[in-house]
Amino acid sequence: MKRVFGYFVLWYFLFSFAIQPLNLYAEEKTDSTATPVESRMALNYLCTADSTMLTATLSIKKGEVSLALEHAMVEFSVVNGETSMVLGKAKTDQEGIAVLKVPIAGLTGDKEGLVAYSAKFTATGNYPAAEASFSAKPAKIRLFFSIEDSLHILKVTATQKNEKGEEVAIPKETVFIYIPRLFSLLKIGEIALDENGTGTLEFPKEIVGDTLGNLVVIAKIEEHDIFGFAQGQNLINWGVHKQYYKAEVPSRELWTPIAPMWMIITLLVMLAGVWAHYMYAVYELVMIKRLSKKDKPLF
C-alpha cells in the first residue's frame, strides 16, 4: 500500500511539473488579454431634404480583436469657431452604432457655410474616450418625375444656401440614382448636373416595384469634399407590379413546420422495429430472472 501511495505522490509531482508550462502559457495569455483597450469612433453624415443624420460607430480594439461597444452614450455637437452646441445624445446598439437625426434649420456654419459636427464618447470604466468629427455644407436634392413622348424622365435638382441664406444651384456635380432592393441599393444611373444644378435621366421601365408598382427613388451626392453625403428621395409608381407566386408543391425547406410524411413514417417504422426488439430482449431477461426462482443452479 505504501508503494502505491508512493507512486501516487510521484505521479502527482510529475504531473505538477508537466502542467507548469501550461500554467505559464495561460498566464501569458492572461497578460496578453490585459493589453490596453483602445476605443475607436467613426462619424458618418447624411444630409436629406430637411434634416441631417449623424451616425457614430464606436468600437474597441483589444489586441488584434475589434469589437463593437454596445450601450455606450455618444454626445453629438456642432462646433462653430470656439463655441460648441450640443445637438443631442444617443446610445450605441449591438453593432456599436449611435444615430442622431437633427433638423437642418438652426445649424450654423462658418463663412463658407461648412457645418462642423463632432461625436464624443466619454471614458467609462475600462474604455477610454473617443472622438470623431466631420464637416460638410448642407445640400438639398429634389427629384421630379415626368413622362415625355412615352419616356419616363427623372429630373434632379441640387441646391445649397449662400451667405445670405438664399438657395442657389450646385453646378457641375454628379448625382447617383438608386432604387432600394432587399439587401442593398441598386444603382440605375448617374446624372451630371448642369450650370443650373439640374440634370435628367431616362428612367428604366423594367424595374420591379411593389404590388402597386411603387418605387422609392434615391438621388445621392457621395463622398463630396464640401457636401459630404447628401440625399433626396421620392416615390413613383413606375415599377413593374410584383406578382407573388405560390408554390403548388409542398416545399421541403428546413423551416417548414413539419417533416415530409415519408420521412416521419420511415423514422417511426425503423424506431418501432428496433425498440420492439430491445423490448423483446429485456422481456427475455425478465423471464430468465423469473426462471431462477423455480429451480436449483446447474453449475
Partner: protein, 437 residues
C-alpha cells in the same frame, strides 16, 4: 495443451482480484492525462472557443474528427462482435468481449467531443425541445441514443453467463460489494435449459440488431456531411464509405487491444497468432474496400472537374499532402502487403500495421472535415487568412489525449470488473475447440 486441464477462471482470477503496482501507475498516468484534458476544458469554458483553432469558417476541427473516429470504432466493435456471434465463428471467444467493450466505451466517449464543439451548452436541451425531424442532426441524436441502449443490452446479454460464474465462484477473493453486485447483475441465471434458450435467442436477436443499427447510425453520421452541398462532402457513396472506414479503423483498434491485453494479462495461450491473422485478414479485406471507395469518390470528383471539387483536390495534394498520402495510400497499401504476404504475417507486424491504420483513418477523417471548411463557397467580407486556416491548439490536443486516456482507463477498469476473455464458454471440450483452432 496444459491449458485445457485448468479452470479458466483460476487463470483470470488475479486480473480481477488485485492490481499490480504497474497497473496503479498506469491508472495514475491516465488520470494525469485526463487531468490535463480537464484543465484544457476549464480553459475553454473560461475563455470560450477562442482558445481552440476553430473560427467563423472552419467551425469543425479536431473535436468532430475525434467524434467520427470514436463513433467509427464503436460501430466497428458492434459489427465485428455481432457478426462473429451470429456466424458462431470458432475463434471468436477470446476476442469478442474486447470488441463489445470497444463498442460501449467508444460510444460513451464519442458524443462528448460533440459537446466540446458546441458553443452554447446551456441551450443543449433545445435539441429535444425544438428538434426537427428534417434535420440530420436530429437523426443523429435519435440514432446514437438508440444505439447506446442497444449496445448496452447486447453487452449485458453477453456478460450474463460470466456474471453468474463470478457470482457462484467461492474461491475468488473479492470485496463483498463486488460479489453482491455480481449477484444482482447475474439476474439469478443458473444455466437452466430454458434460461439458456432464452438467453441465446435474445443474444442472437440483439447481435443482428447491433449490426443493423451500427450500419444505419454510421450512415446517418455520413449523411450529416453528404446532404450538404459542400465540395468533398456531397457524395452519394458517403454512407457506405463511412461504414467501411469505421469497421476498418475498428478492426485495427481491436488488434491493438488484443496485443495490449495479451501482453498485460499474459493471454498468449488464448490470443494466438491465428487470432491476429484472422482479424488481420478482416482488416485486409476492409483495406481493399476502403481503398476502392476512396478511389471511386475522388476519381468521380476529379473527372467531373466541378470548380470547387477541383479546388478541394488541389488543396488535398498541396497543403494536406502528407495526411492525404498517409490516409489514402499508406493506410490502404500497408495492410495489403503485411497481411497479404505470408512471411510478413507476424503478430508484431500486424500490430504495427494496425497502429498505422489507426493513424491513417484518423487523418482520413481530418482531411474530410477540415479542407472542405477551408474552401468555403461564399466570398466573405473582411476575411482574414487566419479565419480560413485551421490549426488545432493545445486545448484541442489535450482534450483529444484525454479522450484516448478515458478510453484506455475505462477499458482497464472494465477488465478489472469482468474477465477480458469470456470464461464460461472456455471450459472442457468447448474450450479446446474454441481456443486451439
Amino acid at each position: 495443451m496444459e491449458l485445457q486441464q485448468k479452470d479458466p477462471l483460476r487463470e483470470f482470477a488475479p486480473q480481477l482480484e488485485r492490481t499490480s503496482i504497474l497497473g496503479y501507475a498506469w491508472i495514475v498516468f491516465l488520470l494525469g492525462v485526463i487531468g490535463l484534458g480537464f484543465y484544457a476544458f476549464l480553459s475553454q469554458v473560461w475563455y470560450g472557443h477562442e482558445v481552440t483553432g476553430m473560427r467563423d469558417n472552419v467551425v469543425w476541427g479536431v473535436y468532430i474528427v475525434n467524434f467520427i473516429f470514436f463513433m467509427g470504432i464503436s460501430y466497428a466493435g458492434a459489427l465485428i462482435s455481432g457478426t462473429l456471434h451470429l456466424f458462431k465463428t470458432a475463434w471468436r471467444k477470446p476476442i469478442i468481449r474486447m470488441a463489445e467493450f470497444i463498442t460501449i466505451i467508444a460510444l460513451l466517449i464519442g458524443p462528448c467531443f460533440i459537446l466540446l464543439c458546441i458553443g452554447r451548452l446551456d441551450k443543449l436541451h433545445y435539441l429535444v425541445l425544438f428538434g426537427r425531424i428534417q434535420s440530420p442532426i436530429t437523426w443523429d441524436v435519435i440514432a446514437i441514443t438508440t444505439d447506446i441502449f442497444g449496445c448496452f443490452i447486447f453487452l449485458y446479454l453477453s456478460l450474463l453467463r460470466d456474471l453468474a460464474t463470478l457470482r457462484d465462484d467461492e474461491l475468488l477473493q473479492l470485496p463483498n460489494w463486488r460479489k453482491k453486485l455480481y449477484k444482482v447483475l447475474a439476474l439469478g441465471y443458473t444455466g437452466l435449459p430454458e434460461q439458456q434458450q432464452r438467453l441465446n435467442r435474445a443474444t442472437d436477436i440483439m447481435a443482428a440488431m447491433v449490426i443493423a443499427i451500427a450500419i444505419i447510425v454510421y450512415s446517418v453520421l455520413a449523411w450529416i456531411f453528404s446532404v450538404t452541398l459542400q465540395p468533398g462532402w456531397h457524395s452519394t457513396i458517403f454512407g457506405p464509405y463511412f461504414v467501411i472506414a469505421a469497421v476498418y479503423s475498428g478492426s485495427a483498434v481491436l488488434i491493438l487491444c488484443m496485443w495490449a491485453f495479451r501482453k498485460v494479462y499474459h493471454l498468449e495461450a488464448y490470443i494466438t497468432k491465428k487470432h491476429f491473422v484472422a482479424v488481420g485478414v478482416i482488416m485486409l479485406v476492409l483495406a481493399a474496400f476502403f481503398g476502392y471507395f476512396t478511389f471511386s469518390d475522388y476519381l468521380t470528383k476529379w473527372y467531373g472537374s466541378e470548380k470547387n471539387d477541383e479546388l478541394l483536390i488541389q488543396l488535398l495534394f498541396k497543403k494536406f499532402y502528407w495526411p492525404f498520402i498517409i490516409s489514402n495510400y499508406i493506410g490502404v497499401l500497408l495492410p495489403l502487403l503485411v497481411v497479404g504476404i505470408a512471411r510478413f504475417r507476424t503478430i508484431r507486424n500486424i500490430t504495427l500495421t494496425a497502429v498505422v491504420v489507426v493513424i491513417a483513418l484518423w487523418l482520413n477523417r481530418y482531411i474530410i472535415v477540415v479542407p472542405t471548411l477551408e474552401s468555403p463557397y461564399l466570398p466573405i467580407q473582411d476575411s482574414r487568412p487566419e479565419w480560413f486556416s485551421y490549426s488545432a491548439t493545445w486545448v484541442e490536443w489535450s482534450l483529444t489525449a484525454a479522450g484516448v486516456a478515458i478510453f484506455c482507463l475505462l477499458f482497464t477498469v472494465a477488465s478489472k470488473f469482468i474477465t477480458i476473455v469470456p470464461v464460461t464458454g472456455l471450459s472442457g471440450e468447448e474450450k479446446k475447440e474454441d481456443v486451439l483452432v
